[in-house]
């Protein structure tokens, strides 16, 4: 187990480092002058001396390797820099918003896993049946729909035409406090849309894995013992098909993060996704770089976690060490 963690870190850290370097180079090559950006609206009135002062303060004119090292040591030290698009420390921006993004992604993952496991298993059991064919057709169709378009369609129908859900935001405009039921009401549509857009991949995987597992010898043997259909399906077919699924959850997280950026933007949720789009529109290097690096680190950590869970769940790996 410890060996696994160490092996993963040995690759993950250099890649994070390389990513940060690549991003820094890209930022340095960018035609945007951070000093002018910092001055913002005051740029027309700011004198050349003021701008030079800002540049000197930030060390913009230092050699690139020195700038990179300074940025990196600051990052590691916890100083994520100053967001030029939001005019506040990057750390504050992220701290205020990361929770909502995590909530959106976490809830979505939960919904996706539960529904895809249940529906995928039933579809595999009755493969070729109406449910199986319907689900597969729907899955392929949904897979080709951009999530932001799906979100807009959901808003058009469920929020604007029927008025069942609010069209965006996290709380009611008139609300002064954040209540659980209000947030739940506002999150229902974004979570559903994100879940629907992510579910096909999981659903099809579970369906195929269980369908294949149902033809295996050990499932045949379980049926021959006269076990109930439910026991054979969940206790034998799904249980063996589930293990590879566990590690695949981790590999699919980047997709989920991308989807959450789009869904947050459409539903105007105060998460990291929407703010990174703002940052991009404002060429806010420190904020964008920090969000990308932190998200990558979180995804890598989640990958490691699913691998550890896999090791713990599969006796063949667990016992052999």
């Amino acid at each position: 187990m410890i060996r696994l963690i160490r092996r993963r870190l040995a690759v993950a850290l250099p890649v994070l480092l390389a990513t940060s370097f690549g991003m820094f180079l890209l930022g340095a090559a960018s035609p945007i002058d951070p000093a002018l950006q910092y001055a913002g609206g005051a740029v027309s009135t700011a004198s050349e001396e003021n701008l030079a002062q800002i540049r000197a303060n930030w060390g913009v004119d230092d050699p690139l390797p020195i700038q990179y090292l300074r940025w990196l040591t600051n990052l590691i030290g916890g100083d994520l820099g100053w967001s030029t698009s939001r005019h506040q420390p990057v750390g504050d921006v992220i701290a205020a918003r990361a929770g909502w993004t995590l909530l959106l992604i976490g809830l979505t993952l939960l919904v996706v896993l539960l529904t895809s496991l249940l529906l995928g298993t039933i579809a595999a059991y009755r493969r070729g049946g109406l449910l199986d064919r319907g689900l597969r057709a729907a899955a392929y169709a949904v897979e080709s729909m951009p999530v932001f378009w799906l979100a807009l369609a959901a808003i058009a129908v469920l929020a604007l035409a029927l008025g069942w859900f609010p069209a965006g935001g996290l709380t009611d405009i008139t609300a002064t406090t954040t209540t659980l039921s209000d947030v739940a009401h506002h999150l229902a549509l974004p979570v559903t849309v994100l879940a629907i857009s992510q579910a096909p991949w999981f659903l099809l995987f579970v369906r195929d894995a269980v369908a294949e597992s149902l033809l295996e010898d050990h499932v045949l043997a379980a049926r021959a013992r006269g076990l109930r259909g439910r026991t054979v399906l969940f206790g034998h077919a799904l249980r063996t098909a589930l293990l590879p699924f566990l590690t695949l959850i981790g590999t699919h997280l980047p997709e989920l993060v991308g989807g959450s950026v789009l869904v947050e933007t459409v539903f105007s949720l105060p998460g990291l996704g929407a703010v990174s789009v703002q940052a991009a529109l404002g060429s806010d290097f420190p904020l964008l770089a920090a969000i990308t690096l932190i998200t990558t680190a979180v995804v890598l950590a989640a990958n490691l976690l699913t691998d550890i869970a896999y090791t713990a769940a599969d006796p063949r790996v667990r016992v052999d060490g």
Partner: protein, 302 residues
């Protein structure tokens, strides 16, 4: 005659992409309560397909025709629901072939055994006793299938089949991977079930095992039963030339292999399938032989 299982004109065909496999052809046999019937033959002659056909566990590309009556239920036509609720495990148990793949890889023997006992309304604590009956130590029950040797896995699948205590047990090569004392132990367990009034259909290519415990023997060759007679007379005076040749191949007899190869099940001849390898064959063998000894020129006539 008080037959528990009566198979009549059973045929099983598999449709493949470019061929049809005739795995079982016009098969007739019966098993009484208390009888141990051994179905013997070389591997690939259709023995295991027979076992799966009786339990309705054949893949979707298989077509089964004929009848197989278990008391009053026709196993071929009664439908999946009835098979699942009343037959499998409850009235017919199966010791599957290739125990290594027949065990759910992520569960220990004890959880599998306890689960089977519970689902059949028996006490899960019986697991230890049933494992011991099959010759398996209690401590081995806590191992995962990949930790079991071939012999231990074999004993575990036997224990799983015994757990529901079915009146008819189909044992498909239940002695694979066991050494001699354990082979004898397993065969004795099967024999004891018959002595207590249950029935066993033993599928094996091990003639010595059949000779040790069987009441009756059905010899299968190229999807058909060629000789179906009491065990004692089969082993004393084989009637079908194929049976005689099989017996001659045993190490403690002539130890002489049968020349040639059995035919492909995708291309069975119209007449006697054994004729190309048979020293007694003549023109008459171009027509299919019938009867309990399916031969135009049997070695003994009853």
């Amino acid at each position: 005659m008080n037959a528990l299982l009566r198979v009549e004109d059973l045929s099983v065909r598999f449709r493949l992409r470019d061929a049809v496999v005739q795995a079982v052809t016009d098969l007739n046999l019966s098993v009484r309560r208390g009888e141990l019937l051994a179905v013997v033959g070389e591997s690939g002659c259709g023995k295991s397909v027979l076992a799966h056909a009786l339990l309705g566990l054949l893949p979707a590309n298989a077509t089964t025709t004929g009848h197989a009556f278990l008391d009053d239920i026709d196993l071929v036509h009664c439908g999946e629901k009835k098979l699942a609720r009343e037959v499998r495990g409850r009235r017919i148990g199966l010791v599957p072939q290739s125990p290594a793949t027949a065990l759910t890889p992520v569960r220990t023997g004890r959880t599998l055994l306890a689960e089977t006992l519970r689902e059949h309304g028996r006490d899960a604590a019986l697991a230890t006793a049933i494992a011991a009956d099959a010759g398996l130590d209690d401590t081995d029950l806590d191992r995962y299938p990949f930790q079991l040797s071939g012999g231990m896995a074999q004993r575990l699948v036997t224990a799983l089949a015994l757990a529901s205590d079915p009146p008819l047990l189909i044992a498909d090569e239940p002695t694979t991977g066991l050494d001699r004392p354990l082979v004898d132990h397993t065969l004795d367990v099967l024999r004891r079930r018959c002595d207590n009034g249950d029935a066993v259909l033993l599928i094996t290519h091990d003639l010595a095992a059949a000779e040790r415990v069987a009441d009756t023997v059905a010899v299968m060759y190229a999807s058909r039963i060629v000789e179906h007679r009491p065990a004692a007379s089969v082993f004393k005076t084989a009637a079908h030339p194929y049976t005689a040749a099989l017996l001659d191949a045993l190490p403690d007899r002539a130890f002489q292999a049968i020349p040639g190869h059995p035919p492909m099940l995708t291309a069975l001849p119209a007449g006697c399938a054994y004729a190309p390898r048979c020293p007694r064959a003549d023109q008459q063998c171009a027509t299919p032989p019938t009867g309990p000894v399916a031969c135009h020129h049997p070695l003994v006539t009853s």
